[in-house]
């Protein structure tokens, strides 16, 4: 990204981020330059739901390819880029108020964002209705994380939600 020279010392919590997320030092450096570039107001955070650099990297960590070789002992926290981590991240795209359930209103909101003005209200409602009926197994008119996971069990989440980071 242009000729700027930043070093690892400029980046807050670099070592901790590397360990937590599994990105390499070169990646963190590169992401930091990108973050600075996107952060045009120099506020140290990005746009509406403000994201500082550490959160930025943590979100991106979900998209790293799954480490098949990493063995996990029980005490260690679930890594961000495991299948469950990715599913949780996808679930949170729907579940904006973080109450653990995707309500009908939240689903409608996401659908509206994806389709814009191209569909009518009725069409939107019928799509949402159908989606909830399919996924909502315990009939509480909302989709919990487990129901979400079940609905996506045949989808190769590891592949579909991984970005290939170059070495």
């Amino acid at each position: 990204m242009g000729s700027s020279s930043s070093s690892m010392t400029n980046i807050p919590d670099a070592q901790q981020l590397i360990q937590e997320t599994g990105f390499s030092a070169a990646h963190i450096l590169r992401l930091y330059e990108r973050f600075e570039f996107l952060d045009k107001d120099k506020r140290g955070e990005l746009r509406q739901e403000t994201v500082d650099f550490a959160s930025f990297v943590r979100i991106l960590a979900h998209f790293r390819p799954t480490d098949t070789s990493r063995t996990r002992d029980g005490a260690q926290q679930e890594p961000a880029n495991s299948s469950t981590g990715k599913l949780k991240s996808a679930f949170q795209l729907y579940d904006q108020d973080r109450d653990g359930k995707i309500s009908r209103a939240e689903l409608l909101q996401v659908l509206r964002a994806m389709m814009g003005i191209q569909v009518t209200e009725e069409q939107l409602h019928s799509i949402a209705e159908r989606a909830i009926q399919e996924a909502d197994l315990d009939r509480d008119d909302a989709i919990s994380f487990d129901e979400f996971r079940q609905s996506l069990e045949k989808v190769n989440v590891d592949h579909k939600m991984s970005i290939r980071f170059l070495k």
């Binding site: 000729s3 700027s4 070093s7 990108r34 570039f37 996808a90 389709m115 191209q118 569909v119």
Partner: protein, 445 residues
């Protein structure tokens, strides 16, 4: 004191001698003493050695993060339909067209890919080098590797700033003054063939001196396709120096806005000797006026070919962005030209948000050299059934293909402006037609 004056005078005389006889006069006649050629060869050897040394140093110091010249991610290909199809491949075929909770995976992945690295914004900053070329300004995370490397870098700084830079400044000043004086003088002559010939001579010699003032080495390929009178020459735009590079080999009618200050003086004197097309700022906004003036110029088949840069802004020479169709509506034959700078010897891209013109020229004059390849492509004309935008696209692809540049359809105006909402709506439309369009297309307007 007198001794000092005497010495200073001698040095000055020697200096002028070198500049005039060894550089300026040969340049004016298009000859070369070969010094620049030798210089470039030596540079290439040194840079190759430096690359090997850095690679070796990097292997010995694994803690230093390695730069990523090809970007940080490799983007997944595949259109929206393909990806959606794959996401739903597990569902029963009857429900294949409907919304599924997994659809969001596609959007989130594509979105994050673009956030991390995108195709467009990287074109508005200098190209990253795979290996350091011993200029301070391109030093990204190249740490101290060896003493010899640092010494060479130091010698390079001295040579560039204390030896080459004064030489180049002198030449540039001589070149520009000669341009202004020469064109004004020629302007006094009555219209005749002699005047045109003289005007071409003046322009050529000035640009040649200016090119020497930048230590520019230009290789022209396919000279048989050189733009003819009454045609329009289009090229990819990287820097204002493109004009000097092209005008070194032929005379063009320039198109552009009238500026104030030094640029304005140069522009006004140039137009006295041969018909360039300069616009006032207010006129530039009126596309119709611009097009008709250019059309009139082209229609008079005896006038010099117009030089236009259809991208409208400087791009960093790794790609070619959308060509504005205005230039292709004028009519006449289009002569495409590809200009490719060699990034090892100096970064030619003008990042107008980072440097102003003077700062940029100073950087140019303190680089190693400017090594350029110019390809003249065979002339193209608009074909039946093709509109200006398609023609522009075709020419753009030809230019990109020749120079090994990436052919992007994005507008260079994104350098300064925001993306239009219509792009987002297009994506929404595509997605909606997958979900809804298959089922009840009569309710969708």
């Amino acid at each position: 004191m007198e001794d000092l004056w005497g010495v200073a005078l001698d040095v000055f005389q020697a200096w002028i001698f070198v500049v005039v006889f060894l550089i300026m006069l040969p340049a004016m006649f298009g000859l070369s003493l070969g010094v620049t050629g030798v210089y470039i060869q030596i540079l290439v050897r040194i840079l190759e050695w430096a690359t090997l040394r850095i690679q070796r140093g990097r292997r010995e110091q694994p803690s230093v993060p390695v730069p990523l010249p090809n970007g940080i991610i490799e983007r997944g290909g595949g259109s929206m339909e393909e990806e959606m199809g794959q996401l739903r491949s597990s569902r029963p075929p009857a429900a294949a067209g409907e919304f599924s909770l997994s659809d969001v995976l596609y959007f989130s992945k594509r979105g994050v890919e673009s956030i991390v690295d995108d195709q467009v914004t990287q074109r508005f900053s200098s190209e990253e080098l795979a290996s350091w070329n011993l200029l301070t300004r391109t030093n990204q995370n190249f740490r101290y590797i060896s003493l010899r490397l640092t010494v060479i870098w130091g010698v390079g700084v001295f040579v560039r700033y204390c030896v080459l830079f004064p030489l180049r400044i002198t030449l540039a000043i001589i070149g520009l003054s000669w341009l202004v004086i020469g064109t004004t003088l020629v302007g006094f002559l009555p219209e005749s063939n002699a005047k045109n010939w003289l005007s071409e001579l003046v322009h050529l010699t000035c640009y040649r001196i200016c090119a020497r003032g930048l230590s520019a080495t230009v290789h022209y390929h396919n000279k048989e396709n050189k733009p003819q009178k009454g045609g329009i020459c289009v090229a990819n735009h990287t820097t204002p120096i493109d004009v000097v590079i092209l005008a070194n080999d032929g005379c063009y009618a320039m198109v552009g806005q009238i500026h104030g200050g030094l640029m304005g003086v140069i522009q006004r004197s140039m137009v006295r000797s041969c018909p360039h097309v300069w616009f006032e700022r207010s006129e530039m906004k009126d596309r119709h006026a611009v097009t008709s003036r250019l059309r009139a110029h082209v229609a008079a088949k005896t006038k010099l070919p117009i030089l236009i840069f259809p991208e409208g802004t400087c791009i960093n020479n790794t790609s070619v962005m959308m060509f504005k169709k205005g230039s292709f509506e004028i009519g006449g034959t289009i002569y495409p030209v590809t200009i490719k700078y060699d990034p090892r010897f100096g970064d030619a891209f003008w990042n107008s948000s980072k440097y102003n013109m003077v700062g940029y020229l100073l950087r140019m004059m303190t680089s190693w050299a400017i090594v350029v390849n110019v390809w003249y492509l065979p002339p193209m004309t608009i074909q039946d059934g093709e509109d200006a935008a398609q023609f522009a696209s075709r020419v753009k692809s030809a230019i990109a293909h020749q120079g090994g540049l990436l052919d992007l359809a994005w507008d260079g105006g994104l350098k300064r402006g925001k993306v239009k909402d219509s792009y987002k709506e297009e994506q929404q439309k595509m997605y909606s037609s997958i979900i809804v369009g298959l089922n009840d297309s009569n309710t969708l307007q």
